[in-house]
Amino acid sequence: MAALTRRLLRPVHTLGKFVMLMAQAVSSIGEVSMYRKNLISQMTKIGIESLPIVSLAAFFSGAVMTVQTAYQMTGPFVPKSVIGSIVAPTMILELGVVGMAFVLAGRVGARIAAELGTMRVSDQIDALEVMGLNSVAYLILPRVLAGVIMFPVLYVAACTIGVGGGIVAADVGGYLSAEAFVQGAQMYFNPFDPFFGLIKAFVFGFLITSISCYKGYYTSGGAEGVGDATTEAAVASCVFMLFADLLLAAAFL
């Protein structure tokens, strides 16, 4: 019975531990000298170094969506410019940010969990603490801050490149001209859409980096534990991101 109760309460315990860790990170935000250098380094790793893979994924998403939309638009009464009206908002509202976040859950989330997990099992985090360093401010805060700062930046890049991919595919594939594509994209453009996308990028940036930090920081069990933490970080990030996506859509749209 006690074991069953413990098992049932485990998610509550995990959530409490996660909230406490994030609260400790936020309360350390004044210790700028502790994390300034690490923040710049993490912004480079999470933002700049992720740009190539995010760009590649966005370009092909936009291009493939254009080709598939053109394939479905066979009716003679539907103007071709509708392709732009479909591809651009989809990139801005959903595919640009969710597709990017999935890529980053693997690239950024797994790396953070593996890095912190290895530090934990090799006593490096304890070594930092014993020196008198706030390990949460030094390790977790810069990673989460870099995530919430750089994900929106990457989102802007992903949307721009994704729509660009759509235009290239439309033009090169002979489906419609670049001008017609842009005209279609402008037709139903809602200024709130990119703003909503930025909100989602901010939230996903927080979820992926904070969940991965949590998994890595509390790793136990040697090399196997690091492997488990890495996998769990990527999977949990994706699952919570999807829930957040639905909640945000229901709340804002």
Partner: protein, 271 residues
């Protein structure tokens, strides 16, 4: 002075500490001995506040480290240096970078002075040539010595060693033991050494405390092993000696033979 009073710690269903009480006097070298899994490292982590006891308290110069704020604890930790079992060096930094890290983080000294002090610390552990090497390029013994250099850069009052000779060959172990003695003498550091290596205990410690069943079962000067009739202590010493199977090196406290009687580490007679 460090005092642990009636420490209890449980992990899941496992009671690791069940009332451990310990006193570490200023300037001495105390060895905490015991079998693998007896709770030595758990006790060590309590002494620097890395673990919080379920019951009991740890006093550092009269301050209960579990009753103070995290900020106060961080300041207090500047008095400690810890040598972790694997060294716990930062993989991304060179040996010099590791040693310089506490200086760069906690002092306002110019870079030249930081480098000078870091190189001096490396020289103290006899590793002048390893400054540009990354931890992955160092041997186990070298990693521990770099970690030791890092632990002493901020001139701590207390140095805690978690299995400093574990996994090292006898010669390297002796080098580490010599370093522990040198640091204790030269810098007047209070040392706490977790080990199950009786050769090390006799080479470096003034006193020993045996942890058994979650409590400090026996404590006393290392020279008092021979006089003790405590079976748990004698079993531990004998098992250690038989496992090693060779006489102890020149020790701080124990002779190899007394009155023609063949003796084990610390003067414990062969049973």
């Amino acid at each position: 002075m460090i005092q642990a009073e009636n420490l209890h710690k449980r992990f899941g269903a496992l009671d690791v500490l069940t009332g451990a009480t310990l006193e570490v006097r200023d300037g001495e070298t105390l060895a905490i001995i015991g079998r693998s899994g007896s709770g030595k490292s758990v006790l060590l982590k309590h002494l620097v506040g890395l673990l919080t006891p379920d019951e009991g308290r740890v006093l550092v110069d009269g301050t209960d480290i579990n009753a103070i704020s995290y900020e106060h604890l961080r300041t207090l930790r500047h008095q400690f240096g810890v040598l972790f079992q694997g060294g716990a060096l930062f993989d991304s930094m060179t040996a010099l970078g590791n040693v310089a890290f506490p200086l760069r983080t906690f002092t306002d000294e110019p870079e030249e002075e930081v480098r000078r002090r870091a190189e001096e610390a490396l020289a103290r552990v006899r590793l002048q040539g390893t400054a540009p090497k990354k931890p992955a390029a160092l041997s186990g013994g070298q990693r521990k010595r770099v970690a030791l250099a890092r632990a002493i850069t901020l001139e701590p009052r207390y140095l805690l060693y978690d299995e400093p000779t574990c996994g090292l060959d006898p010669q390297t172990s002796n080098t580490i033991n010599d370093l522990i003695n040198d640091l204790a003498d030269d810098l007047n550091i209070t040392s706490i050494v977790i080990t199950h290596d009786m050769h090390s205990v006799l080479a470096i410690a003034d006193r020993a405390a045996l942890i058994h069943d979650g409590v400090i079962h026996w404590s006393g000067p290392t020279g008092a092993f021979a006089e003790s009739d405590d079976e748990v202590l004698l079993d531990f010493v004998r098992a250690n000696e038989y496992q090693i199977g060779v006489p102890s090196p020149t020790s701080k406290n124990g002779a190899r033979e007394r009155n023609g009687e063949k003796q084990l580490a610390g003067g414990v007679p062969v049973s």
